[in-house]
């Protein structure tokens, strides 16, 4: 089954993290069409142009701003998108806030490659289930 045939947009101003996520995605979902946004300025407008039914992997802090606050507006304009919030450190309260704002998932960035593989497979699976529903 071609599980990776899905548009994915990585939104992370930590350029190294974005590169590593893209490499792991290339290995586990080689057919995914992956865009990377590392410049946080004007990101909200650019995300409105994201591919149809894209999975957004969005860092929680973009240029010092909480990206959780962007989620409701983005989903209002583009309800076809799935947003997963990622962060180097995520409290239970932040996770609840992100889910309440409409994110399909909110997770701490794993510290190992195996952790990333597991998390990204899980997010792709969630996104696929949501796209089918």
């Amino acid at each position: 089954m071609n599980q990776g045939a899905v548009p994915v947009v990585i939104v992370d101003d930590e350029v190294d993290h974005a590169i590593i996520i893209r490499r792991v995605l290339a290995a586990i979902a080689p057919y995914a069409a992956v865009d990377v946004m590392t410049d946080p300025h004007g990101v909200e407008d650019r995300l409105l142009q994201a591919p149809f039914r894209a999975l957004l992997l969005m860092d929680r802090m973009l240029a010092g701003r909480q990206s959780i606050d962007l989620i409701p507006g983005l989903l209002h304009a583009r309800p076809d998108l799935s947003i997963a919030l990622l962060s180097a450190a995520l409290s239970d309260e932040d996770r609840k806030r992100a889910l309440a704002a409409g994110a399909v998932a909110a997770a701490e960035k794993p510290g190992t490659l195996d952790g990333w593989r597991m998390l990204l497979r899980e997010l792709l699976g969630l996104h696929r289930a949501r796209s089918v529903a």
Partner: protein, 223 residues
């Protein structure tokens, strides 16, 4: 032209809020570059392994050793930063302090006591960290918890099935004095729970291989 000073007195941040912000930024902001280091080391390690497998030899023994050392150092840092994150979260966790009978708080465990009518005692506490403390020390099986009381407090002695380090007093102070030694151990868990209890003015300490907790007796509790 001289700028006139603002007329309103600026609001000062409390030291507690500043400490919270510092703890959060240390645990979040320092973990971010650490992730880059450890994941990059792992990526290179996998490439080195793949090259060795392809050629049937370990072509880069020194590289592999250096990368493993780098990864080990990163993991050690990760362990200590994680302890800071745990403390930061314990400081911010929401609490629900209410009056409840001790028998409800300790439900499922065996209570031994010299106190008359211990079933009539009620305390003011957020039950969650107390229950988590008992679970962490005793596992999910029933434990024998000894109960005493003073005029103002119910004192619990919770035995530990886990191996407690030889450490009397405050796990929080022990952790604060040495992240290197205690991060990632049971002392980190106990320190987090101690902090949550301290926020409710509930003292806790380690002694004789057990944990003692002083719960405030609620007004109207039976004597």
């Amino acid at each position: 032209m001289t700028a006139s000073p603002p007329s309103a007195v600026p609001k000062t941040e409390s030291p507690e809020d500043i400490l919270d912000a510092l703890l959060f930024s240390v645990s979040h902001d320092l973990r971010s570059p650490l992730l880059t280091l450890s994941l990059s080391a792992e990526l290179i390690r996998e490439s080195v392994d793949a090259a060795g497998d392809a050629n049937g030899v370990d072509q880069a023994g020194n590289t592999a050793v250096a990368l493993d050392a780098l990864k080990q150092g990163a993991e050690d840092l990760e362990r200590m930063l994680s302890a800071l994150t745990t403390v930061s979260r314990a400081r911010r966790r929401e609490q629900e302090i209410r009056t409840l009978p001790v028998r409800v708080l300790l439900g499922g465990h065996v209570v031994s006591s010299n106190v008359e009518h211990p079933e009539g005692l009620t305390v003011r506490v957020d039950a969650t960290p107390v229950r988590e403390l008992i679970d962490r020390l005793c596992g999910e099986d029933p434990a024998e918890i000894r109960l005493g009381r003073t005029d103002t407090h119910v004192i619990l002695r919770i035995p530990s099935r886990a191996d407690l380090p030889v450490l009397d007093g405050s796990p929080l102070i022990a952790l604060a004095r040495s992240l290197q030694l205690w991060a990632g151990t049971i002392v980190e868990d106990l320190a987090s729970l101690q902090l949550q209890l301290a926020r409710q003015a509930v003292p806790m300490e380690l002694a004789d291989g057990a944990v003692y907790v002083w719960l405030p007796v609620s007004a109207g509790s039976s004597r």
